[in-house]
């Protein structure tokens, strides 16, 4: 029906041209949708990150991105691609509260990406938020669905290191009650934080000499509540 005798054997040129035109039109359509949605997607990502930082650092209303260059932490507006970045959180008066550190590592099924809040003065982790994970629904996903487990990270000493213990046997301020049935995922979260902490602790300046807040009180502060 769609191939009358005359076009039964079209020339190679026609075949090439058909595919080239189809590819060209498709490319134009894809560029169009990419350009249209890019601003919204970027804004969504920035908002999500901001909400996560405010969540893991209680009391924080302003944040700035920090990178480690030439032996010191510097404030950057746009971190370079693939450059490890942490976020300095400041309260409404512009006082430094703590760092929000993104970290990632292998979980039970796939990479777990998380963000944790760290107060260098108290040497404590004060909050943890899972950004990305594919842990088993109903078991491993308790690392972010179980409010009790998430609350374990609200005042957690990092010295000598964080340890996950069997549920109900927590004794020290550096211990976390693991989740029954999801020990691997819970231990993965602890390991990821420990590794990120070891990596960053030598790069952080002494408590009290954190980078000052640049451009304080940015007007785009809709997430302050």
């Amino acid at each position: 029906m769609n191939a009358p005798a005359a076009t039964a054997n079209p020339s190679s040129l026609r075949l090439v041209l058909t595919l080239a035109i189809a590819g060209l039109l498709s490319g134009i359509a894809i560029i169009g949708i990419y350009e249209t949605t890019l601003p919204t997607i970027t804004a969504n990502k920035a908002r999500e990150l901001r909400e996560a930082v405010l969540k893991v650092l209680p009391g924080v209303t302003q944040m700035q991105a920090l990178v480690h260059r030439d032996g010191e932490l510097v404030v950057v507006a746009e971190p370079a691609k693939d450059e490890p970045v942490i976020y300095g959180g400041h309260d409404a008066q512009g006082e430094f509260v703590g760092y929000a550190v993104p970290a990632a590592g292998p979980g039970f099924q796939d990479t777990i990406a998380l963000l944790y809040g760290y107060r260098p003065g108290d040497r404590e982790v004060v909050g943890m938020e899972i950004l990305e994970s594919r842990e088993t629904p109903g078991l491993g996903d308790k690392i972010y669905k179980d409010a009790d487990f998430v609350a374990e990270f609200s005042a957690l000493r990092v010295d000598p290191e964080i340890v996950a213990v069997k549920k109900g046997t927590k004794t020290g301020p550096n211990q976390v009650d693991a989740i029954t049935g999801a020990t691997i995922s819970a231990k993965a979260v602890v390991r990821i934080i420990n590794e990120a902490h070891t990596e960053w602790s030598e790069r952080l300046p002494a408590p009290g000499s954190e980078p000052m807040l640049e451009a304080p009180d940015s007007p785009v502060d809709e997430g302050a509540q």
Binding site: T18, L19, A29, Y34, T37, I41
Partner: protein, 214 residues
Amino acid sequence: MKENLSREEFLKGIWRDNPVFAQVLGMCPMLAVTNSAINAVAMGMATFFVLVGSSFLVSTFRHLIPKQVRISCFIIIIATFVTIADYTLLALVPKVHKELGAFIPLIVANCLILGRQEAFASRYPTKLAVMDALGMASGFLLALFSLGAVREILGDGALFGFNLFGANFEPWVIMILPPGGFLTLGVILLFFNWFKTKKDEFLEDVAAAQRSEG
């Protein structure tokens, strides 16, 4: 007559030739993303958009596409629509997009969509092709939703995230794990085929009764 024809093309996809329950096509997204009703509906809507858009274009340009390169052309068209759906979901509902993950790009490989292009859209006029695509896509959406709803209710005690049974409900976790997908699909297929057998028997009885009367 023509009205009836296009209505018929629409309705067949919803029940008689339902892509999931009757043709058993598109099983990969069917089993993978139906662990909650909202994921299932989002996947169904994305597939709906891709299928209807592709069928429209393929049918409109069916005389221009040489048959030697038709499959490549279909894939280019489908992939373009999938990319559009991908970015749109990412911009509008980032949370759902995150849950669906790799399965949105994989719509390209959904045999239901390519199958409809090859079997129907490339052979029939645009209007019929669009009706066929609307029917098939609605059938697929319906199937995804029934699976997603059953699995979320049993496995999570909720529907669209709203808790249905209160705190005392013990979720049947396996229903939102992969085995739950197979179990639910199996039970639904069983029902579907039982219903079909019963209907055929009933029609035969009616025919026999009419014959004996006549």
